[in-house]
């Protein structure tokens, strides 16, 4: 190689270090030909990995602020319980076995209702997006019905379904159904025509069209719908447990509130948040897996 006539600092010269110059200021005598690079410096080597720091740091910070606020009694301790009190309450409901019982009840209901609701929602949303007839027949009803709270139909549902588990599962399934159906409908509607054309050219049967083309093409949006539907299912589960149940996380929280045990309510909040978060992470991993093709 010819001697470097560029008068650049050594680390800016060729070789393996090539990728390092980005984001560095070049010497005044050798102004960069580019306008200033606009990207985050992608430095190699001893760089700090901010991701874990930030993603663990931010909840931690929140916790510290919470503890501080309660320690200084900025709010009445009966209402804003401190993290330590929550931990104590947590220990209490664990040792009495109450939490485990409520949680397993809730999770069973959630699993049933959510699975049924989300999968039916996916199918219905796809049918709505793919068939003009289905869309014309059910579109308006769907759009109106998805805005109506299930709360309003409780007398009818009780009459039809009774008040046992079926009732709760149906309510949760209904809640999970709509966000997924909408997400599937809306994002499949947005799939470029060219994809349909290729599929039609090879006369791909509808299940291939759906599983190999439409779903991959809309993974992020449909999964976002599934994630929302999980949130809603959680929410409605708790609400349903308020209406008819003796057990479940929602019931635990509601009783906690009735009994002015806000520490127990907070335990419920945290458990619900953590479990929801974990389930949500699961979907994110699923999404990352489904979107390998973007980064592979």
């Amino acid at each position: 190689m010819k001697p470097d006539h560029l008068n650049l600092p050594p680390r800016l010269r060729g070789g393996r270090t090539a990728k390092r110059w980005e984001g560095q200021t070049l010497p005044a005598s050798a102004p960069s030909v580019a306008d200033k690079p606009r990207h985050l410096p992608r430095k190699q080597g001893r760089r700090i990995s901010w991701k874990p720091i930030l993603s663990i740091g931010s909840p931690l910070l929140l916790l510290i602020v919470w503890q501080a606020v309660t320690a200084f009694k900025l709010f009445p301790p009966e209402v804003l319980v401190s993290p330590t009190a929550v931990i104590a309450a947590f220990g209490e409901v664990i040792t009495t076995g109450e939490l485990q019982r409520h949680l397993s009840e809730s999770l069973t209901r959630l699993a049933g209702g959510f699975t049924i609701g989300a999968s039916l929602g996916l199918l219905f949303g796809l049918a709505l997006a793919l068939s003009k007839t289905v869309e014309r027949l059910f579109g308006p009803t769907f759009q109106a019905l998805r805005q109506v709270p299930v709360l309003a139909f409780i007398p009818m549902l009780i009459l039809l379904l009774g008040i046992d588990e079926v009732f709760k599962i149906v309510i949760i399934a209904k809640a999970a159904f709509f966000p997924v159906a909408l997400a599937a409908y809306d994002s499949v509607k947005g799939v470029p025509k060219s994809y349909f054309e290729v599929s039609s050219l090879y006369r791909a049967p509808w299940w291939v069209l759906i599983s190999k083309i439409l779903i991959p093409a809309t993974v992020p949006n449909i999964l976002a719908g599934v994630r929302l539907s999980l949130t809603r299912a959680w929410l409605v589960l708790v609400a349903a447990e308020l209406i008819v149940a003796d057990s479940g996380l929602g019931q635990m929280m509601e009783m906690g509130r009735q009994m002015f045990r806000l520490d127990i309510v907070m335990v419920g909040v945290i458990v619900a948040g953590v479990i929801g978060f974990a389930l949500d992470r699961l979907f994110q991993l699923l999404q990352a897996h489904a979107l390998r093709w973007k980064t592979a």
């Binding site: 009445p76 209402v79 409780i154 009780i158 009774g162 209406i243 008819v244 003796d246 509601e254 045990r261």
Partner: protein, 341 residues
């Protein structure tokens, strides 16, 4: 609501906030019981205004009334609240310093209604059957007393924890055999959903009691204001107690969940005079009831700390108010003087 000033007496708070169970009537909140009478009379607002103090009403829906009021007391967002015995006790036990300063009369009836077609004459007949109740609500205590008296336990039934709306549907649909609830049971009976087989009319001592509760800090810092509020409630009780106002009062009350016809029957066959329904006096019965409730809730681990009623009931304001308003002897009961022993 505004927080009251921390320095006593000299500085009055900008506003007094009273929370009470309310309903929505023609798109606007209508309060339950005497609070609406207080509002209609307008006397309290005028009195407070003279002192430059505003009056705020906080309407709370019945289904979440207890928790909302308790949290409001804890956050010092409300100063007074009219609500039930059980939630107030829970707050007190949970460290919120409040006390009962008037009674709202003899209390509310609870009913046991069984579904159509079920041959049950008494609670004993329901053994092994399904029974719906909304757990944690004040009338659960009444049920507990009823069961105790018959040597029964909750586990003798298939208990469904249902909120009232759901419970009535389930009853009508025959999905539960019985519901234990408040006066709406009469309405359900009228609609043909079931038959009432028991009520507190046969055991008035088990009725759920309500009263006006106040934040202790507020009452000690603003005794005059507190007295004004209490007087307003005594005046309202006085108005409601007069037989010629019966119809008007029932009309007000019918803006809630129950039509007048139901209320009439709820108030019927109670023995005693119409005016005794609204006695504000904190009498032996009232105190005994709270003693009882306090013991029961603690023994059944519904609350963590036992509440000493003597710190919880303060009849001084109501006694003074009755004197001031010249209403001594208007209501029959004998007032308790001084803290309960």
């Amino acid at each position: 609501g505004e927080k009251p000033a921390s320095t006593p007496a000299a500085k009055l708070p900008a506003a007094v906030t009273i929370a009470a169970i309310s309903y929505t009537y023609q798109g606007k909140p209508t309060f339950n019981g005497l609070s609406q009478v207080v509002i209609n009379q307008g006397w309290l607002e005028g009195e407070l205004k003279k002192n430059g103090v505003a009056l705020n009403w906080l309407p709370v829906p019945t289904s979440v009334g207890g928790p909302l009021i308790n949290e409001g007391f804890a956050a010092k967002r409300i100063d007074f609240a009219g609500y039930g015995d059980f939630p107030a006790l829970i707050a007190k036990s949970g460290g919120v310093d409040i006390r009962a300063i008037t009674s709202s009369g003899q209390g509310n009836n609870a009913y046991l209604i069984v579904r159509k077609g079920l041959e049950a004459k008494s609670i004993e007949d329901l053994k092994g059957k399904s029974l719906a109740i909304h757990r944690g609500r004040p009338w659960e205590l009444t049920l507990a007393k009823l069961l105790d008296s018959k040597g029964l336990k909750l586990s003798d039934f298939k208990i469904y924890n249902l909120n009232p709306q759901a419970a009535y549907s389930a009853l009508a649909a025959g999905k539960v055999d019985a519901v234990f609830t408040l006066s709406e049971a009469i309405l359900q009976e009228d609609k043909g959903a079931g038959t009432i087989i028991w009520s507190t009319k046969s055991n008035p001592e088990w009725k759920m009691r309500t009263g006006l509760f106040a934040r202790t800090e507020f009452t000690t810092q603003n005794p005059e204001l507190t007295q004004t509020v209490v007087n307003a409630y005594i005046k309202a009780a006085h108005w409601a107690s007069q037989p010629e106002n019966r119809a008007a009062f029932l009309e007000l009350a019918s803006r809630g969940n129950n039509p007048t016809s139901v209320l009439e029957r709820d108030y019927a066959n109670e023995g005693g005079d119409w005016n005794d329904h609204f006695s504000p006096i904190i009498d032996q019965g009232f105190v005994a009831h709270f003693d009882d409730v306090s013991k029961y809730t603690f023994e059944n681990k519904l609350v963590q700390k036992e509440v000493a009623t003597r710190n919880f009931i303060d009849p001084t304001f109501v006694n003074k108010g009755i004197d001031e308003l010249g209403l001594k002897g208007f209501w029959k009961e004998t007032p308790v003087t001084g803290p309960v022993q």
